[in-house]
């Protein structure tokens, strides 16, 4: 086995010990501080998006009740909710937040390879968030084009926010992509170049694998969004006709010639589908580590898990048109994309089986992170199964514009990654802050969130089968819908409000823990990965004190027979502990 590790070459990585408050916490180049900055910003906008979704639900559950929700507002809420959740919360939190925190610590390096660029990445991200939020306050308000921003309606009169909202949205996306690229170059280079001695690629924890491949996807897919944003910006401001067809608006000719809205859809989804996996792969990786740690068992099929991540990453680039079945396409294309879409189910199902098999006969500790990880398996299977329905052209066509789709993508890329986010925060909280949180409060938070999301999304599937259309501000005269659909909508709204308020428990826990939480043990979960073996908790600048760790084993030496502890950290040399499982033979 060839070792690939060079982080001990300290001169390759610049380090400046921060001395003032400003360089330590504000203009910080320390990956841990940047991770926290990313995390706080992302959660902040995420809360805004959560409030927006509550407003949408109020309108849907109790139409004609709230005079402050106009149709224009409603579409603005829908748009901003979707865009914030997908990009500014989940992408930023998984890669900017967890990527930043975990990659150097799990790989045994002192910091990201380019700390200055890492700092810049956060500040540019913050700028993109500010531009985005500014669009609420410009004349005409934020854009209401839907999170997919389809032209021509995204920039035509009649859609809310076509004056400034759409311009700020596109500009904000462009700025975000610059920020992501700076961060992404760092994550990729750090994983490839700064791992500690002995940390071969195939000894990396799956969290790092997930984040790494997701970053690669992001680096290659975000340019598609950038291209479409630039072109749409030109269409809007300089009247080019990349996407805008010859069209008349309110009886007038705005001057566009024969552009192609379908071209935008291709570019958008060429980014948009890999984006699903940019969010999902880090969640897959993190959940694998949570399950293994709290079940005290090695992850089942480590190599398969790695290859599945790689395969999903590759496949995610050739399925994008399954978002466009309703736009109309050559049936052979439809067949092709349906096939590739369903093939993705193979590596994904493999991962699910392996998670379940990891739990099998494990010594399961139902601590808060574990609850969230197991909850994720449930919601992800549900979301994944409905994906099998929608991947087929003939089933997608009637369902595409109904609440079935809303339920599907919220289960698979809304609820599931968010459960992992919470699980991961609870899991690494003792390391990040050095404090323990309140276990009981955490468990309440889990159960209310988990059951609450089912109360929201299970009925939504049924609404979809009833044909209740999504995106509508009000249902109007729709005889095909039974009156009970409205009751169900009211129920969903109440559940959604319940879940939204439940999140307050999380924030109470955070503040309680910071203020009066018990001091955390350096390794409270008896975990094997390197971030739990740091000399200080929370780790100081440079992470490892004087000497970098050496990695001697994979991250999953749990319950190894013949060793007194039920875990062997990755930096324990083989002469001090048995050599793990030999030649792939399970011990049972």
């Amino acid at each position: 086995m060839g070792y690939v590790a060079i982080a001990d070459r300290d001169h390759d990585i610049e380090h400046h010990d921060p001395d003032t408050f400003i360089t330590k916490y504000i203009w910080s180049q320390d990956h841990k501080v940047i991770a926290i900055q990313y995390g706080i910003t992302a959660i902040f906008v995420g809360v805004i998006a959560l409030i927006l979704s509550a407003m949408m639900r109020l309108q849907l559950g109790f139409p004609d009740t709230f005079s402050f929700i106009t149709p224009e507002n409603y579409y603005q809420f829908v748009t901003m909710h979707g865009m914030i959740m997908v990009i500014y919360l989940l992408t930023a939190l998984f890669l900017g937040g967890f990527g930043n925190y975990l990659i150097p610590l799990m790989c045994g390096s002192r910091d990201m390879v380019f700390p200055y660029m890492n700092m810049l990445s956060f500040w540019v991200y913050l700028l993109s968030v500010i531009i985005l939020l500014a669009s609420f306050f410009v004349p005409g308000g934020s854009t209401g084009a839907g999170w997919t921003l389809y032209p021509p309606q995204a920039i035509m009169q009649g859609t809310p926010g076509t004056d400034w909202g759409i311009i700020l949205m596109l500009a904000s996306l462009g700025v975000f992509i610059i920020a992501f690229t700076m961060g992404g170059l760092n994550y990729v280079t750090t994983v490839l170049q700064a791992r500690c001695r002995g940390m071969t690629l195939m000894r990396m924890p799956l969290s790092v694998w997930g984040i790494f491949i997701a970053t690669v996807l992001g680096l290659l897919a975000f340019p598609a969004l950038l291209v479409s944003a630039i072109m749409m910006l030109l269409d809007k401001t300089l009247m080019t006709s990349f996407f805008m067809p010859a069209i008349s608006s309110f009886g007038q000719d705005p001057g566009y010639t024969g552009g192609s809205p379908i071209l935008f859809q291709h570019l958008f989804w060429f980014f948009g589908h890999p984006e699903v996996y940019i969010v999902a792969l880090p969640a897959f990786g993190i959940v694998s580590d949570l399950l293994s740690t709290h079940a005290r068992k090695n992850i089942f099929g480590y190599r398969m898990m790695v290859w599945a991540i790689i395969a999903i990453g590759g496949l995610s680039f050739i399925v994008w048109a399954h978002h466009m079945y309703v736009s109309g396409m050559n049936p052979y294309f439809g067949f092709f994309f349906a096939t590739t879409t369903l093939i993705i189910a193979v590596p994904t199902a493999l991962k699910v089986y392996n998670w379940v098999l990891t739990l099998w006969e494990g010594n399961i500790h139902l601590r808060v992170p574990m609850l969230f990880a197991i909850g994720f398996i449930f919601t992800f299977i549900h979301g994944g199964l409905t994906g099998l329905f929608l991947g087929n052209v003939t089933i997608d066509l009637p369902l595409s514009d109904t609440y079935f789709v809303v339920a599907h993508f919220h289960m698979v890329m809304g609820v599931s990654p968010v459960l992992v986010v919470f699980g991961a925060i609870y899991h690494w909280w003792p390391k990040i802050t050095g404090k323990m949180y309140n276990e009981t409060l955490g468990k309440w938070h889990f159960w209310m969130t988990f059951l609450g999301t089912y109360a929201i999304y299970l009925p939504m599937h049924y609404l979809g089968f009833q044909g209740v259309p999504r995106r509508y501000f009000a249902m109007g005269n729709t005889d095909f819908m039974p009156a009970s659909a409205q009751d169900l909508n009211a129920w969903i709204t109440l559940s959604a409000l319940f879940v939204a308020f439940t999140q307050i428990l999380f924030f109470i826990n955070v503040f309680w823990s910071l203020k009066s939480g018990k001091k955390a043990d350096p390794n409270p979960w008896d975990a094997t990965t390197l971030e739990w073996q740091t000399p200080d908790t929370p780790p100081k600048h440079g992470n490892w004190g004087h000497d970098l760790p050496e990695c001697h084993r994979w991250a999953y030496d749990y319950s190894v027979p013949g060793y007194p502890d039920d875990f062997i950290p990755q930096n324990v040399p083989p002469e001090d502990a048995p050599a793990g499982r030999q030649h792939g033979v399970p011990e049972h």
Binding site: D12, G258, H266, P574
Partner: protein, 220 residues
Amino acid sequence: MEIGLIVLAIMLATLLGWLLKQSFNTTPWVADAVDESAYQAPFNARPKLVALATFLAVATSFFALILSAYALRMELGDWIPMTEPQLLWANTAVLVFASVAFQWTRNHAVGGNAARIRPGLVLAGVLTTAFLVGQYIAWLQLYAAGQTLTANPSNAFFYLLTAVHGLHILGGMYVWVRATVRAYGGRDPDTVKQSIELCTIYWHFLLFVWLILFGFMLST
């Protein structure tokens, strides 16, 4: 979208193939002593080179996707092929010389011939600036001829492609300025050498991109 797909497929296949190769025939569950002699750093352990290579992959994806859009948009009815200004041939030659100048500077920097570094850097910078000015003049000529941005989608793509290509060169010029200031400020030759090496790769890449873009626009 075929162009973008093919280019991305090649890049992804390269990386994923490399990863798979790394991961086959491994036994991750076996613990191991760290053997001093067994260290081998990937890509000769040069983070900046890896970061540049990664960025080139991002830029490749970016340009390939614009070309995909170009190819798709071209098939629609209102497309009138644009006649590219003859000046672009001269600009192309200038950019080739800029690339050659960087290569020449790099060879001297690697060979330890410090005296050639400064004039080489200046020459490369002047040629690159000349290219950018030339591109701008080409824009002015087109505008004077009524070939404005909105006159036809093919024009819009021409302006877009030249603009984003020029912006990438401007980004490279930032590194060039830093390297030149360092070279004249008498900074440690190794740092300057590394900047020059990275610039040379980047310039070759942008020349290659320009040749593809120019060829694509000429042939359509």
